[in-house]
């Protein structure tokens, strides 16, 4: 078959749409991890965001309340994590895993009453420009505000970490909490803030799934995207711009596979499902071979509890 340029544009658009929740959750988690906290509860926070967004939209009818409510729900659930790991100094890994299990369970419980209800149409921007330029217009126009926000976020995150004072503080806390503390930085406060921000972004990622991507509530609808987002942070070597690229690759796998099927090309589905994790392991192996690269890219105190505070 002849592949025309518009068709490629459509595929890229689908891939971008599927990358949105990954970008949001990964950029949030990246800030959390840059402050030295490893929160494995991404999947749990996303699913809480998904049910909160959908439930609020159904009950209040307001998309605005729903989106912000979902972010707030992400903040609230991540507060539990922050309190446990920062105030009670529990283990990051165990607490994060518990958060995911808790989130999946409680979302299913709340969600019982929202199964099978059709979602609302989410408004899209620049829809009138959708047919103006071949190839480019479907990519650029006719998407939700969350879509545009997600594609701007990695650049903001990059600017924030590299060019702003607060960004520098976050990195300092993540690399050497002791020195930061000696400089008069409230390490615990910074980490609290970074965890809560991560929660908000994961909540938004969940809301995108239940309100925009497939507007309905289904139990366990995040379907492992939280884990892919976590893998993505490692894959990107804690670099927001690389998250953008990684999210397109990871998010695009199923879409490319479906397109290949429709064209009559067969690849084993199981292999593609495993691919994001395989690629992440390869990246880990590559960066861990070079101690300089580890020091440059990994937040040194990642996952370690910080006891001392002033």
């Amino acid at each position: 078959m002849i592949i025309d340029i518009n068709f490629v544009g459509l595929i890229i658009t689908s891939i971008m749409a599927s990358a949105v929740p990954l970008i949001l959750a990964s950029c949030g988690e990246l800030i959390t991890e840059r402050s030295g906290v490893l929160n494995l509860g991404v999947e749990g926070m996303m699913i809480i965001g998904a049910i909160s967004g959908f439930a609020l939209m159904t009950v209040t009818g307001s998309l605005f309340i729903a989106v912000f409510g979902a972010m707030l729900a992400g903040v609230l659930i991540s507060t539990i994590f922050a309190f446990l790991t920062q105030t009670l100094i529990t283990n990051h890994v165990a607490t994060g895993l518990a958060l995911t299990i808790f989130g999946i369970g409680i979302s299913a419980m709340i969600g019982k009453n929202f199964v099978g209800i059709p979602g609302k149409e989410f408004p899209v921007l620049f829809n009138s420009l959708k047919d103006t330029i071949p190839f480019l217009s479907p990519i650029l126009f006719g998407h939700s505000i969350v879509f545009y926000f997600a594609f701007a976020l990695p650049f903001f995150t990059n600017y924030f970490l590299k060019k702003t004072k607060i960004g520098l503080i976050v990195r300092a806390v993540g690399d050497s909490p002791e020195s930061a503390s000696n400089q008069g930085i409230n390490v615990r406060l910074v980490r609290y803030a970074c965890i809560l921000y991560g929660g908000a972004m994961c909540g938004l990622a969940g809301a995108y799934l239940s309100m925009i991507y497939t507007p309905q509530w289904i139990e366990n609808m995040t379907g492992g995207r939280g884990w892919i987002a976590l893998a993505l942070v490692v894959f990107s070597t804690w670099n927001p711009i690389k998250i953008l690229i990684g999210a397109m690759i990871f998010g695009g796998l199923t879409i490319i596979q479906f397109h290949m099927q429709a064209m009559g090309v067969r690849i084993p589905v199981q292999f593609l499902t495993a691919l994001p994790y395989i690629v992440t392991i390869v990246v880990l192996v590559v960066i861990s071979r070079d101690s300089r690269k580890i020091r440059l890219s990994t937040p040194s105190s990642l996952g370690k509890s910080f006891y001392k505070d002033n």
Partner: protein, 356 residues
């Protein structure tokens, strides 16, 4: 003489009355095991509608939803059998082995397994619906209404039930429009709205202007509505999820069968059976046809529906060839149930291969 006759009549009536009273009074409890949530508006939802019909007929029912087709299923079945249920309906193909295994341990409990073929013990019955009859109707509509001559089909798993549906759909579509192509995408899930919509989107991007589905969620019809193409509802009437896109739905109507079987348990007349009912018996129901379907096509579809119901027309009538051009069903013959039950080859006109 007259007196004696009256007396015997009265006593026999009393006897009969006590019999019926005892039959009704015997508390028959029916249990249902579901693969998905009852609110999926597809497969499980329709089974639950059937369960409610049993409840309305005056029997106590319970259900367990979201039971995985694994060792969990066995545990759930054992627990239901232990807690005084007289008949257990297991409503997914993957419960086949667990059902037979647990049935052996509880010979006094009746088991009814949907869409399976194993009846290893006298207390196991199987039942299924001839959904392919409904798919022949969808194929007729799709073949007549497509403009791009490309019809998309989101499939779940490569099992005979699904292959049979694809074939029936394609044969019917070819009959009204020899130029159509059916593009199949396997989602390898029964229920994952995210994946189902990505599959549907891929098909629409590749030129399909009508999407058929053999997965259970409403995501595909919603995607079709957004993209401005047509689609068909699966298992239940999905019109309210996509009023413009949904042309009609094939509904699974289990209620009458469930009531009949639970009554049989109550009356003590239950016996092992293999049931395969279609449009004629009311197990497969076609929802209202959308006004977007032109009236002459509506008439044609209604005619086909009644012909399928009466048995005048069979969805698999020869000559049918496979993809390589080998004859599957000879001219004037129809495929028998054995062939249908084990159908694992595409008919001519379906694109691609069946994944292994």
């Amino acid at each position: 003489m007259h007196k004696i006759f009256t007396r015997s009549l009265v006593s026999s009536l009393v006897f009969l009355f006590t019999l019926t009273v005892s039959a009704v009074a015997k508390d028959v409890k029916a249990a249902f095991v579901y693969i998905g949530p009852t609110g999926d508006h597809g497969w499980t939802y329709q089974h639950d509608v059937g369960r409610k019909a049993v409840e309305a007929a005056g029997y106590e029912t319970t259900y367990v939803e979201g039971v995985p087709e694994s060792a969990d299923a066995e545990r759930v079945l054992r627990q239901l059998a232990n807690s005084g249920h007289d008949v257990i309906f297991t409503t997914s193909f993957g419960y086949m082995n667990p059902t037979n295994k647990v049935a052996k341990e509880f010979p006094n409990v009746k088991f009814e397994h949907a869409t399976g073929y194993k009846r290893e013990h006298p207390n196991v019955s199987t039942y299924a619906a001839r959904f392919y009859e409904g798919r022949a109707i969808l194929g007729t509509i799709a073949g007549s209404m497509t403009k791009s001559n490309v019809i998309g089909y989101v499939a779940s798993f490569p099992i005979p039930e699904v292959i049979r549906g694809i074939n029936s759909f394609t044969l019917a579509a070819q009959k009204v429009n020899p130029n159509i192509k059916t593009k199949i995408v396997w989602a390898f899930t029964w229920y994952d709205p995210g994946k189902e919509s990505e599959a549907a989107k891929a098909l629409i991007d590749q030129g399909a202007d009508i999407i058929a589905q053999h997965t259970d969620s409403t995501a595909i019809v919603q995607i079709a509505e957004k993209a401005g193409v047509y689609a068909f509802g699966q298992a239940s009437d999905m019109d309210k999820f996509a009023p413009k896109a949904v042309l009609t739905s094939v509904e699974n109507n289990w209620g009458p069968y469930y009531v009949e079987r639970v009554k049989a348990v109550a009356n003590g007349t239950w016996s092992q059976k293999d049931t395969w009912h279609g449009i004629g018996d009311g197990m497969v129901v076609i929802s209202d046809l959308d006004s977007a379907i032109p009236s002459d096509l509506q008439k044609k579809v209604k005619k086909l529906q009644s012909d399928l119901a009466s048995g005048k027309v069979h969805a698999f009538t020869g000559p049918i060839y496979d993809q390589k051009g080998n004859m599957m069903v000879a001219e004037g013959k129809t495929a028998d149930d054995g062939m249908l039950a084990g159908m694992m080859t595409y008919v001519k006109g379906v694109e691609g291969d069946i994944p292994k």
